[in-house]
Symmetry: C2
Subunit: 241 residues, 2 copies
């Protein structure tokens, strides 16, 4: 069992990184489209139940999509930046601990391995190997003591953009009928049909990409849309009534 070659390690890390980022982009699309399809749809359906005109519904719907895309997009940006800052702070702290209290850090490595039933005479050489290689030791503590992965600097902007665009695309689906059908009570019928279809398709795709049962995922997603619009409908009637 020879040690893993440098170029293999490089390829392995790049492969892991691209899997990591692709998963996060899918997650951001799911976040954006889930709420983008559901909330504008429910808002529009609720308002049409309260006898608002297509004009008011469109005004409220488009304003909500703009606000939602920005709030969620910038929220995603701040969350990713916060993770990156957190990683940087923890990295610095671990480096200081390795520099100033190496014996305590070495004891932490021992403790981590001891949790898996490894005896001192078995983990001793590993601890010593790490002590001789400060850079590897730091990486080990970040991953195995703190469970933190080095974040991709592209992520904050990527996340913001992905979530915002997904929310806008999701939100346009239920609102398009109101752009073409001036009578709200007719537009809402078209909106319900296209949105439920979109929710089923999106839910299916979500299940497929996340490894859950796609049909069940499709039904769950459509059901959330139904519950949200029933609630919006009910609240709108209550406020108007």
């Amino acid at each position: 069992m020879g040690s893993v070659g440098e170029s293999d390690k490089y390829l392995l890390n790049r492969h892991k990184e691209s899997h990591f980022t692709a998963g996060e982009i899918v997650r951001d699309i799911i976040i954006g489209v889930s709420d983008g399809l559901t909330v504008p749809f429910a808002l529009a359906a609720g308002l049409s139940g309260a006898n608002a005109s297509s004009s008011i519904i469109l005004t409220a719907g488009i304003a909500e999509v703009a606000a939602g895309a920005i709030s969620m997009g910038l929220g995603g940006y701040l969350a990713a930046k916060s993770e990156a800052d957190h990683y940087a702070r923890e990295l610095q702290r671990e480096q200081e601990e390795i520099d100033t209290i190496p014996d305590t850090e070495a004891a932490e490595v021992a403790e981590i391995l001891a949790e898996y039933g490894v005896e001192p005479h078995e983990y001793g050489p590993v601890v010593n190997a790490l002590r001789k290689n400060p850079k590897a030791w730091l990486d080990f503590m970040m991953k195995f003591e703190l469970g933190l992965e080095k974040p991709d600097p592209k992520r904050p902007l990527q996340s913001a953009f992905t979530i915002a665009v997904s929310y806008v695309l999701g939100g346009l689906v239920p609102l398009l009928p109101y752009m073409f059908i001036p009578v709200a009570q007719k537009a809402v019928v078209a909106s319900v049909i296209v949105t439920i279809l979109a929710l089923l398709i999106f839910g299916f795709a979500k299940g497929y990409f996340t490894g859950s049962k796609p049909v069940w995922s499709a039904l769950q997603t459509a059901l959330i849309g139904a519950i949200a619009s029933a609630a919006a409908f009910g609240m709108a009637k209550a406020v108007q009534g």
Copy 2:
């Protein structure tokens, strides 16, 4: 360096679990309040700029809060359930690999440790120790190969409830003025004041709890609210024509 005692390990794990859950509850509150304060505020401000009445604004706002709380709350539920299902599937797969292809799994352990500059004669005893303790080996692979933590079964419901309630509480802040001031153009002034205050306070608290600079966090949070409402205002004006 003796091995860590059983009761110490139990206390250590319980301590880690409560830190983990508290962090997730804070994260869910941040998710709910961030959007709850921002989107209903922006929607209401946008509609008042388009000369809608307090009645319409309140109808749209309350409907949006209901829809948003349900969409985000149930979204949080599904996300947490999905993580739990993913963990269960990966656990089963790792167990099968340990049972059917132990040599490959042992090579994976070697590869993990080799990445940190640990030589075969140094990590060999650790690999053997794990091979003799299948339960510890499984835990090791879950954590160090896949980076997965055992999820708390309470999390899905807890997450849904926390996010939904946070969104509702956040959303009520900008809408309350419209409940008491029938002239929308006056209500919007009160709404802007209370919401900006709430955004600053919430942003400060968020920074404090996540270890970022609280003043900078307060300003960022208020700025997102301002940008979102400017966008909603602009879109509402554009649609109204």
